[in-house]
C-alpha cells in the first residue's frame, strides 16, 4: 500500500514521465521518417540531427529526478546481507544525501554555462533554437535531482513511515 506521501510523489512524477515517453516516441518516429524521406524522396529531415540531440537531453533529464528518488541508479549490492534493519536505513539515507550534495556544484556550473550560452546567443543550426534553453533545462533538472535526493535521504533517516521503508532502497538494476 503506498502511503499518502508516496501517492503525492507519484503524481508529481507523472508529468516528467509523460514528457520523457512522448519525446522518446517522437525520436523514434522522426528517425524512421528521416530515413524513409531520404531514401524514397531524397528529402531528409535536415533538422533531425539537432532535434535528436535536444530530444536526448529531454529524455535523460526528465527521467533523472524520478529514477534518483526511486533509488534506481545502478549499484553493486553484493555486501547488502551485511547491513540489516536500522543500519541499512542509516546507510541508504546517508547515501541519498551524499549523492544529492554531490550534484550541487555541477548544478551551479551548468547554470554558469547556461548563462554564458545566453550571453553568446548560441543558436542551433537549422531551427535556430537558443542553446541556453536546453542548458537551462539540464540545469534545472540536475538541481531538482539534487533536491529530491536530499529530501529522500532525510525522509529515509527521520520519517521512514512516510515511504513505508522496508530495508534497502529498492534497486531496479539496469539490463546490460
Amino acid at each position: 500500500m503506498p502511503t499518502r506521501f508516496q501517492r503525492v510523489c507519484q503524481n508529481l512524477a507523472f508529468a516528467p514521465s509523460l514528457l520523457a515517453a512522448a519525446t522518446l516516441f517522437a525520436l523514434m518516429v522522426m528517425t524512421f521518417s528521416d530515413v524513409m524521406l531520404r531514401s524514397i524522396f531524397n528529402a531528409p529531415i535536415e533538422a533531425a540531427t539537432e532535434l535528436t540531440r535536444i530530444f536526448m537531453a529531454i529524455i535523460v533529464f526528465s527521467s533523472l529526478p524520478i529514477i534518483s528518488a526511486r533509488g534506481g541508479h545502478i549499484v553493486v549490492d553484493i555486501i547488502d546481507p551485511l547491513f540489516k534493519g536500522a543500519v541499512a536505513r542509516l546507510r541508504d539515507g546517508i547515501i541519498f544525501i551524499i549523492t544529492g550534495a554531490l550534484l550541487i556544484w555541477p548544478t551551479q556550473r551548468c547554470y554558469v554555462l547556461a548563462e554564458r550560452a545566453r550571453d553568446f546567443g548560441d543558436l542551433t543550426e537549422y531551427l535556430a533554437i537558443p542553446q541556453y534553453l536546453i542548458t537551462y533545462f539540464i540545469t534545472i533538472s540536475t538541481g531538482i535531482t539534487a533536491l529530491v535526493l536530499i529530501v529522500t535521504g532525510l525522509v529515509t533517516l527521520f520519517a521512514p513511515s512516510l515511504i513505508d521503508y522496508e530495508g534497502g532502497a529498492s534497486s531496479e538494476s539496469e539490463p546490460s
Binding site: 514521465s17 509523460l18 520523457a20 515517453a21 512522448a22 519525446t23 522518446l24 525520436l27 523514434m28 518516429v29 522522426m30 528517425t31 524512421f32 528521416d34 530515413v35 531514401s39 540531427t49 535528436t52 540531440r53 535536444i54 530530444f55 536526448m56 537531453a57 529524455i59 535523460v60 533529464f61 526528465s62 527521467s63 533523472l64 524520478i66 529514477i67 534506481g72 541508479h73 545502478i74 549499484v75 553493486v76 549490492d77 553484493i78 555486501i79 546507510r91 541508504d92 547515501i95 551524499i98 549523492t99 554531490l102 556544484w105 555541477p106 551551479q108 556550473r109 551548468c110 554555462l113 536546453i134 542548458t135 539540464i138 540536475t142 531496479e172 538494476s173 539496469e174 539490463p175 546490460s176
Partner: protein, 437 residues
C-alpha cells in the same frame, strides 16, 4: 600513476559501500581532477560533460535499441522463438535445453542486454523444461548461459558504448559479434549434450514435431527475422543499391528497428495505450540510469588520463619485456576478477579507458579487443560469486538454490573459456566479417 591507482581503489571501496556507480566514479574523478588541476577546472570539466553527454547524437542509439527489444517482446516474440526452436530440436535428448539456447540466441538478435534476455527466456523456457522433468541445474543453467549471448549478438548496448568510448565503428563491432555469437550457441549446445550424456535423466527428449508444425511455427517469427535482417543488413550496407541506396548509421538502424518492432507489435494487437506508455517510460528510465553511469565514467576517465595511468602502464609493459600475448592474458585475468564484483557496463567503463591505449599500441585490433572484452564480460555473468545472470534467474525461479544453478553452469563456463581461447588464437573468427564489409 599512484594518484590514479588510489582513485581506482577509492571507486572500488565506495561502490562496495553501495554508493551508486555513477556517483562513485564521478566523485573520485572530480576530486582527483581537482587535485591535479583546480576546483574551477574540475567543475568546468564536469559541467561540460553533463551538458554535452546528454546531447550526444551517437548515444541516441541506446534508447532506440532498448525500445526495439521491449516492443518486440510485447509482441510475444520470446514464446514464438521458443516454439520454433522446440519444434526443431525438442525431440533430441536434452532437446528442450538446446531449444532454450537457440531461442536465447534468437532473442539476443533483437535485444541488446544479457540480463533482459535471461529474464525473458526464463519465463518462457523454465515451465516447459519443468513439465518434461528436466533437472533444475540443467534448465536454469541453459537459460543463464544462453542469456549471456544478449550482449554479443547484435544489437548490443555494451558494444555501442565500447564503440563510442574508443571511437571504433559501431557497425563493424556489431558485424564482428555475429560469428563469435553463433560459435557461442554451438558450444553451448555441446555443453548441453555433455550434461545429458553424463546424466541422461537430467534432460529427457520431448515430442517430435511434424514438418507442418515446424513451418507453421516459423511463420510466427518471419516478421522478426525480417526486422533483424533490415537492421543489421542496413548497417552492413546490404541495401546500398539502386533504387534503395540505404545504408544506416547506427542511430538510423536503431530507429528503424524500434519503429519496425512497434509496427509488428501493433499489427498483432498486443499494444495498448497503457503498455506502450509503460514501455516508453521504462526505456527512458533505463536510458537515464545508463547516462548517469556514462557521465560518471567519463569524469573518472578524464582524471585517469590526466594522472597518466595509461602512459605509465604502457611504459611499464615496454620496460618489462612481456610479450603482447602475456599482457593480453594479464588483462583478461583482471577482467575475470573484476567481473566477480562489477556488473558488465560499469566494468567496461572503468577499464576500457585504461587498457584500450595499451592494447592498441601493442598492435591488437580495436574491434577484436571489443569483442574479446564482451566475451569475457559474458563469462563474468555466469561466474560465482556474483554471476548476475544467475541472480536474475534466481529472481524468477526462487525455489532453486543458487549453488544448484552454478553447478549446472559449469560445463557452459568451460565451453566459454574454450571459445575465448579460440578467439584469442584465431582472431579472424572475429575480424573476417568486418574486414570484408
Amino acid at each position: 600513476m599512484e594518484a590514479a591507482l588510489i582513485g581506482f581503489a577509492a571507486v572500488l571501496i565506495l561502490v562496495l559501500l553501495r554508493l551508486p556507480i555513477a556517483f562513485a566514479m564521478g566523485l573520485v574523478g572530480m576530486v582527483g581532477y581537482m587535485l591535479e588541476t583546480s576546483f574551477r577546472g574540475a567543475m568546468s570539466m564536469v559541467g561540460r560533460l553533463i551538458i554535452d553527454t546528454s546531447q550526444d547524437y551517437g548515444l541516441s542509439v541506446i534508447p532506440l535499441f532498448i525500445l526495439m527489444g521491449l516492443f518486440v517482446n510485447k509482441g510475444g516474440l520470446s514464446r514464438e522463438l521458443y516454439r520454433v526452436s522446440y519444434d526443431f530440436l525438442g525431440h533430441f535428448k536434452g532437446g528442450l535445453a538446446m531449444a532454450t539456447i537457440v531461442a536465447c540466441g534468437g532473442f539476443s538478435a533483437i535485444c541488446g542486454s544479457s540480463l533482459a534476455t535471461a529474464a525473458t527466456m526464463s519465463k518462457v523456457a523454465m515451465p516447459e523444461m519443468r513439465k518434461y522433468g528436466y533437472s533444475d541445474s540443467l534448465s536454469t543453467a541453459s537459460i543463464a548461459a544462453g542469456g549471456t549471448l544478449g550482449i554479443l549478438i547484435p544489437p548490443s548496448v555494451i558494444l555501442v558504448i565500447y564503440g563510442l568510448l574508443t571511437e571504433t565503428s559501431i557497425g563493424k563491432l556489431f558485424i564482428a559479434g555475429i560469428i563469435p555469437g553463433i560459435l557461442g550457441v554451438l558450444l553451448y549446445l555441446v555443453a548441453v549434450r555433455f550434461t545429458v550424456a553424463r546424466n541422461p535423466d537430467s534432460g529427457p527428449s520431448g515430442e517430435r514435431a511434424s514438418w507442418g508444425e515446424r513451418l507453421a511455427a516459423l511463420r510466427g517469427i518471419w516478421a522478426v527475422l525480417l526486422l533483424f535482417f533490415l537492421v543489421i543488413g542496413g548497417l552492413y550496407g546490404v541495401f546500398d543499391f539502386w533504387p534503395l541506396n540505404l545504408t544506416f548509421s547506427p542511430t538510423e538502424a536503431a530507429g528503424m528497428g524500434a519503429m519496425g518492432a512497434f509496427l509488428i507489435a501493433l499489427s498483432r494487437g498486443s499494444l495498448t495505450l497503457k503498455n506502450t506508455y509503460e514501455v516508453l517510460v521504462e526505456t527512458a528510465f533505463t536510458t537515464a540510469s545508463l547516462f548517469a553511469v556514462l557521465i560518471g565514467a567519463w569524469i573518472f576517465s578524464n582524471f585517469i588520463n590526466l594522472a597518466g595511468l595509461p602512459q605509465a602502464l604502457l611504459a611499464f609493459v615496454n620496460q618489462s619485456g612481456f610479450s603482447p600475448f602475456t599482457v593480453m592474458l594479464a588483462i583478461l585475468a583482471v577482467y575475470i576478477v573484476l567481473g566477480c564484483v562489477f556488473e558488465s557496463l560499469s566494468m567496461l567503463l572503468l577499464t576500457v579507458p585504461i587498457f584500450f591505449p595499451l592494447v592498441t599500441s601493442l598492435g591488437y585490433d580495436p574491434i577484436w579487443f571489443g569483442i574479446i572484452v564482451v566475451v569475457v564480460t559474458e563469462i563474468s555473468l555466469i561466474t560465482p560469486p556474483v554471476g548476475l545472470n544467475v541472480f536474475v534467474l534466481k529472481g524468477v525461479v526462487k525455489d532453486v538454490p543458487t549453488a544448484t544453478i552454478f553447478k549446472g553452469v559449469t560445463p557452459f563456463w568451460v565451453v566459454d573459456i574454450i571459445r575465448l581461447a579460440l578467439l584469442l588464437i584465431i582472431p579472424s573468427l572475429v575480424l573476417f566479417l568486418p574486414q570484408n564489409m
